[in-house]
């Protein structure tokens, strides 16, 4: 009954921090802003960790068979004998990179951090609807994350069957790693469920007076839809995880057909299971998941573009309707990940059709954002640079989805590097750019201090360059037919032909790793010595900017009332904008 313990909210003091000890203020806090920041820091740490795993893999990919002693020093002789990583360890890194980036990194950052910190402020609420539930969801996420990472240290290492964890491969894989993967997934899913319930209730119930649905900032809409996706798409994966756990610990064979022979050993199970059942349940989650990764990003970008073009968004309503439609459709396209599992004509056609349809709202959203630039007075500050960078990168990500969404062209491109390039363009220079933009945009609100513009730009340009240095070659390699998840592609003639791309990609990745240090440096310097800013440094219109920076416990000095649309920018007015809280000047 985790839904309960929220209501006697009054018994924890609203009268400022000093009422509560350090622990209740910063660790087991119920304040949505602190929880948001906790989510932010934790997920950034996980993101960086997952990225480091990839940097290690990139050595093996660029220089297969060449020892790198430092890896041996870090991971030990068993995982990296003689400085050359073992194939099974490579697979562990691959599986964990995917899992960490998605479930411990981008989702908690986009939904956990920004959803928690920004949504209550933008709807003019004093806090989330269920503060204790909010705290619970953070700590459940934290436990799940720790469990996931610690699985590296169990005998035979972490899960190594890809982030998709297809059985029966998982059944053949070492016991502990995969079992811990499944267990911590159950934690992470539970946490997301609690979080999404909280966000939905907050948006529906705690909107400030006058804040009608069509006066909500687009970001809030994005979070609302995302939360519904999490709420309804995650439970099936939870069920699937339970079924796979049963296969592992209780000897069932839900995903195991009869007559399996692992390395000469006939498996002593009842059999009669179906490996595709897992894929259905998994992708039923994992396709909506894609939109969980991208929608918050779109929301952030919309906010920042409106603010920095100094004019209203183009087609606000079409944005909202497209996002809703996107959410709905995302539940009926999942099997386009399964075209070549032997799918028949009719179903492949059905899913190809829905896939083509779902590309339309994405096009509408992208077009609306591009048209919003028209006639603006564009300020190129750091958040805006990342937001603008998002647009072409996401466009590439979306477009490269086309040949994968058509069954015929998917035959050649399926499970090649083309797929990797495609979804990384959506999530890395796509979602991540948007999330960087959001961090820069709301950092002054969270800390009350302005970051260093120069360092910000110094972070943006190399990141943009190296991102493409990493992911563009993937599309070429995929065209060449190189399979993904290969420990050493030079085992194949067509892999050898494309091997040199790996060198470019690896160096881009390593250099991009260095570039991120500038980002970290900037955030730290800002807290230490950043210029103090007022409530509204960006001259923005939405509600969060009418609260002090940083907002106190309880957020607003007096309960906000809303009188107008979210993006009321107008050069005729003073500073070219009016806040939503301003009554119509008579």
């Amino acid at each position: 009954m985790s839904i309960m313990p929220d209501h006697d909210h009054h018994d924890h003091g609203h009268d400022g921090h000093h009422a509560l000890g350090f622990i209740r203020t910063y660790i087991f806090t119920v304040d949505h802003k602190v929880i948001g920041i906790q989510y932010g820091l934790t997920s950034l740490l996980f993101l960086f960790f997952g990225f480091l795993l990839m940097l290690a893999m990139r050595w093996q990919l660029a220089y297969p068979g060449q020892p790198l002693p430092i890896l041996q020093a870090i991971f030990g002789d068993q995982k990296v004998p003689g400085g050359i990583m073992a194939p099974e360890f490579y697979n562990q890194l691959g599986a964990m990179h995917g899992t960490i980036m998605i479930f411990l990194g981008v989702v908690p950052l986009g939904v956990g951090a920004f959803g928690n910190f920004v949504v209550p402020l933008q709807v003019g609420a004093v806090d989330m609807a269920f503060p204790r539930l909010n705290m619970t969801s953070y700590w459940v996420y934290f436990i799940g994350g720790v469990l996931m990472i610690s699985s590296f240290f169990v005998p035979e290492g972490a899960a190594q069957s890809g982030w998709t964890s297809y059985p029966p491969l998982t059944q053949a894989a070492p016991f502990w790693g995969q079992t811990m993967w499944l267990t911590s997934m159950v934690f992470l899913i539970t946490s997301s469920l609690l979080g999404s319930i909280n966000i939905i209730v907050t948006v529906v119930q705690l909107r400030a007076p006058g804040l009608t649905y069509f006066r909500l900032p687009f970001f809030v809409w994005a979070q609302l839809i995302t939360s519904f996706l999490l709420l309804l798409a995650f439970p099936p994966l939870e069920a699937a995880a339970v079924l796979q756990l049963m296969d592992r610990v209780a000897g069932t064979s839900f995903f195991l057909p009869s007559g399996l022979v692992f390395s000469g050993q006939v498996q002593d199970v009842a059999g009669g299971g179906n490996p595709l059942l897992w894929q259905h349940l998994f992708w039923f989650l994992a396709h909506p998941e894609v939109y969980v990764l991208i929608l918050p990003g779109m929301g952030i970008v919309a906010e920042i573009i409106a603010n920095n073009t100094r004019k209203p968004l183009w087609g606000y309503k079409s944005l909202v309707y497209s996002a809703i439609f996107l959410g709905f459709m995302s539940f009926v396209v999942w099997a386009h990940h399964m075209f070549i599992t032997g799918m028949g004509q009719s179903m492949s056609t059905f899913f190809a059709a829905t896939t083509m349809i779902i590309s339309i709202p994405s096009v509408v959203i992208l077009t609306a954002l591009l048209l919003s630039l028209w006639g603006g007075s564009i300020r190129f500050n750091t958040p805006m640079l990342f937001a603008l960078g998002f647009l072409p990168m996401f466009a590439i990500g979306g477009l490269t989805g086309l040949p994968l969404g058509l069954p015929a062209s998917d035959i050649h491109l399926h499970d090649t590097y083309y797929v990797i390039g495609h979804f990384h363009y959506v999530v890395a220079p796509g979602s991540l750019f948007a999330l960087f933009a959001g961090i820069y945009y709301w950092y002054p609100k969270a800390t009350g201090r302005q970051f260093n513009e120069f360092l910000g730009k110094l972070h943006f340009w190399p990141t943009l360059l190296f991102m493409n240095g990493i992911f563009l070659p993937m599309l070429f390699m995929g065209m060449g037919g190189v399979s993904r998840r290969l420990y050493d592609q030079t085992e194949y003639a067509h892999g050898q032909a494309a091997q040199n791309w790996n060198v470019i990609m690896s160096w881009s990745a390593w250099l991009m790793g260095l570039t991120q240090l500038i980002f970290i440096l900037n955030l730290v310097l800002t807290i230490l010595a950043g210029r103090k800013v007022g409530a509204n440094p960006w001259h923005a219109t939405t509600l969060e900017w009418s609260a002090p920076s940083p907002p106190p416990h309880g957020n607003f000095l007096e309960p906000p009332k809303v009188y107008r649309d979210p993006y009321d920018y107008d050069p005729a007015r003073k500073d070219g904008f009016i806040e939503q809280t301003q009554p119509e000047p008579s």
Partner: protein, 328 residues
């Protein structure tokens, strides 16, 4: 940095159905390019024209933007065409139920995948596959073929060696012993998951022999610089190389080994004309465990008579086997 030529596009195509897929991929990418360049041009132009600068203010009213409507409609129409006009027919031809070749007129082969090898099972002259049973599986008998059965007597089973005749329909029945594998033939544009517990058919027709393919894949490889063997393993020299006093270092068609490469370098050669020994490979395209990367099968596309020769040789070998067995 690129030691070998620009490898950013589709590999050679050696199958009948592959052409249509390539065509579709090319068309889609033109469509993508047009859209992206269109958007990009407008994007950059906006950034320049509407940049904040002294004396420039935003215009509050929003553009009517008929263009965007047209753009969206165009996208819908083109996607519909790609789906209905190209994808569905191709899929029907390559995957559609009942559209495959009839087993009696095609060469039927069973492929049984396992971690990490391809077991190729030919029915032999009688065209009948012998019964298989997991309880018979062993090192010598990886697919558990019941040799006591008449139908199984002439069955051929090879490991990682798949020979097919050119210009003939091939019908492959895919099955797996352990995990999900993927039967991928990049040069034939064939890719099909192999799901344990199911037998999935896939069919294709090769249009070029391996030799013809190899001749088109000849490249000049540098012998100096970063790890030349990385790109030269499993390659053969495509011309004869002699050292200064005329002794042959490596003959045409010989496999390039570490030592031979060293000899070539010693003899002062800086590059070697080489090509893959086996141009068409069976590549597992689905993560299947720690050996996934080396789950490589050799597909040899023979002319009809070469294929016949190979069959005869295999049968001879099979008979020796049986005599040996009786010998014990």
């Amino acid at each position: 940095m690129l030691a070998v030529g620009y490898k950013a596009w589709l590999p050679l195509n050696a199958s009948q159905g592959g052409g249509a897929i390539d065509e579709l991929i090319v068309i889609i990418h033109w469509f993508m390019a047009v859209l992206f360049i269109g958007w990009g041009a407008y994007f950059v132009w906006c950034l320049i024209k509407f940049r904040a600068r002294p004396g420039h203010v935003a215009t509050p009213e929003l553009p009517k933007a008929k263009a965007s409507k047209y753009c969206e409609v165009m996208v819908i129409v083109i996607e519909a065409i790609l789906l209905l006009g190209f994808s569905i027919p191709i899929w029907a031809a390559m995957r559609g139920e009942g559209n495959g070749p009839k087993p009696d007129e095609a060469l039927v082969v069973r492929v049984v995948a396992e971690q990490f090898a391809w077991n190729i099972h030919y029915p032999g002259r009688d065209g009948l596959f012998g019964r298989t049973d997991v309880s018979l599986v062993s090192k010598e008998n990886p697919i558990g073929l019941d040799r006591s059965e008449p139908a199984a007597k002439d069955d051929l089973v090879t490991i990682n060696q798949m020979h097919i005749p050119v210009n003939r329909d091939i019908l492959v029945y895919l099955s797996s012993k352990d995990v999900i594998h993927n039967f991928g033939l990049p040069l034939l544009r064939v890719k099909q998951d192999i799901i344990p517990g199911m037998t999935i058919p896939v069919w294709f027709k090769a249009t070029q022999t391996s030799n013809a393919l190899r001749d088109q894949m000849v490249e000049n490889y540098p012998l100096t610089g970063r790890a030349p063997m990385l790109l030269l393993k499993y390659h053969v020299a495509m011309e004869e190389y002699e050292d200064t006093d005329g002794t042959v270092i490596i003959a045409k068609g010989k496999v390039l080994t570490e030592d031979l490469v060293a000899d070539l370098v010693a003899a002062g050669f800086e590059t070697v004309r080489a090509a893959p020994r086996v141009p068409a490979e069976i590549a597992c395209a689905q993560l299947c465990g720690l050996g996934h990367y080396r789950m490589r099968g050799y597909l040899t596309i023979d002319s009809a008579e070469d294929f016949e020769k190979w069959m005869v040789a295999e049968e001879a070998w099979l008979e020796d086997e049986e005599e040996d067995d009786e010998g014990y």
